[in-house]
Symmetry: C2
Subunit: 252 residues, 2 copies
């Protein structure tokens, strides 16, 4: 069983504040068709993209607790999830939506409990569970945000995945514009010196967070690959285990 | 904390096979306003009504396993849930949807596991979780249906509810057209003799299933009331503990 993450930046135009126009329908369709081309036991997690960021920013989530903010933001990311599930279905797959708000509890922003049983059963029955970045309840902060990047390593470990493939819109962990073929935790200090610098290392913000999550997963014995899902064919390559992007693995 | 069930027969026209017209919008609004009139710690469960029965029948659920049937039926009941959540929000409450497909696992048609933690946290934070009859994965039958009537006693016990109020469109457990004030397990044999008979006892089908679930709950020490939620004012009465309909309680 494999975990595939598709970043919100692939599926939505993050620069478009108007959610009516923010969905990239042709990209959603392409992603669905690439996944359908390589049928296997899979759990799909997609980012919320602008469907999450725009309402979350409007309501000041996760710092400000607001019932309306939670409901509106959840409804918005579910709309994107509907588009993805519909596209996967049209591509011939058997997707079912799984909403983290219904099954995840956070503690101080980290996943504290997760109902993995329905997801396991879906995969066993030949179905494709489709999760997404979402709002979620939090025992210490009342509510928070659970990102796709946090869901992926959690699920990979809980479900004993063979690999986690994390698709964003960059070619991997870049050094001087080129993706590193492999990265282990012991490479981290040398890369961190570039952070905020100008040496062409793209390990800031989203990518740094992604990398740290994947290094934790590698410590647990599960390799992952960070790749560019906006380039046609890369999703199939990543799922088949071909070299694409940066492999995150255990120090050795 | 209390559990309130509103039957699908209140919220939808079960005789209307066209789902575009099956929602009873004015009843959904009335129910929402009655709940808003008595704010308390509450979990709401609503039936799927024709939004569940029509697609389930079309795809032969739960006997025939079909990925499309699961997806279409789930989408349909979620549409009804959206209407209920929207109405509750407009009535001034703070609802959040919780979908059983994401958090319930069945075994041979009965709830085997359930992620209650997010629901507990919602109630603690002043939010109103809104669940519904749904399709769900099943470890022995691949997939099945989890009815609102099954969710109510499970949640009542798991969340240590003070009472479970089960609203349908009849006045309770009827004998000669009148609701019994109280029923215990030891009353069951005398009532069962009327089953299928013509003595005016309405304990068939839906009502019998409801009653058996509630007797199990009474055995666990939690009383429930089966009442007519289609009569204005009854929801508030049931939530406040006033006598309305039939109280199901432990034998004594």
């Amino acid at each position: 069983m494999k975990i595939l993450k598709i970043g919100g930046s692939i599926l939505t135009d993050k620069k478009n504040e108007s959610l009516a126009n923010a969905a990239r329908h042709s990209e959603i369709r392409r992603v669905a068709e690439e996944i359908a081309a390589r049928p296997e036991e899979l759990v799909l997690v997609h980012g919320a993209g602008s469907f999450g960021h725009v309402p979350a920013k409007k309501y000041g989530l996760p710092d400000n607790f607001s019932a309306e903010g939670l409901r509106v933001t959840h409804n918005s990311v579910v709309r994107l999830n509907d588009l993805v599930v519909d596209a996967l279905s049209e591509a011939g797959l058997s997707p079912l939506p799984v909403h983290p708000l219904s099954c995840v509890l956070l503690k101080d922003g980290r996943i504290e409990s997760f109902a993995k049983e329905p997801i396991e059963e879906m995969v066993k029955d030949g179905l494709l569970p489709v999760l997404h970045g979402d709002v979620a309840m939090d025992v210490t902060r009342r509510a928070g945000i659970v990102s796709g990047d946090q869901l992926v390593p959690y699920l990979a470990e809980a479900l004993h995945a063979k690999i986690a493939a994390v698709g964003s819109n960059v070619d991997g962990v870049l050094v001087d514009g080129k993706p590193m073929a492999k990265i282990t935790r012991k490479d981290l200090p040398s890369i961190e010196t570039y952070l905020g610098g100008s040496a062409g290392v793209d390990v800031t913000g989203g990518m740094k967070g992604k990398l740290l999550e994947m290094l934790d997963l590698a410590d647990a014995g599960i390799d992952s690959v960070i790749f560019n899902a906006s380039k046609k064919g890369n999703i199939a390559r990543a799922l088949s285990g071909e070299t694409v992007g940066t492999t995150v693995t255990r120090s050795n």
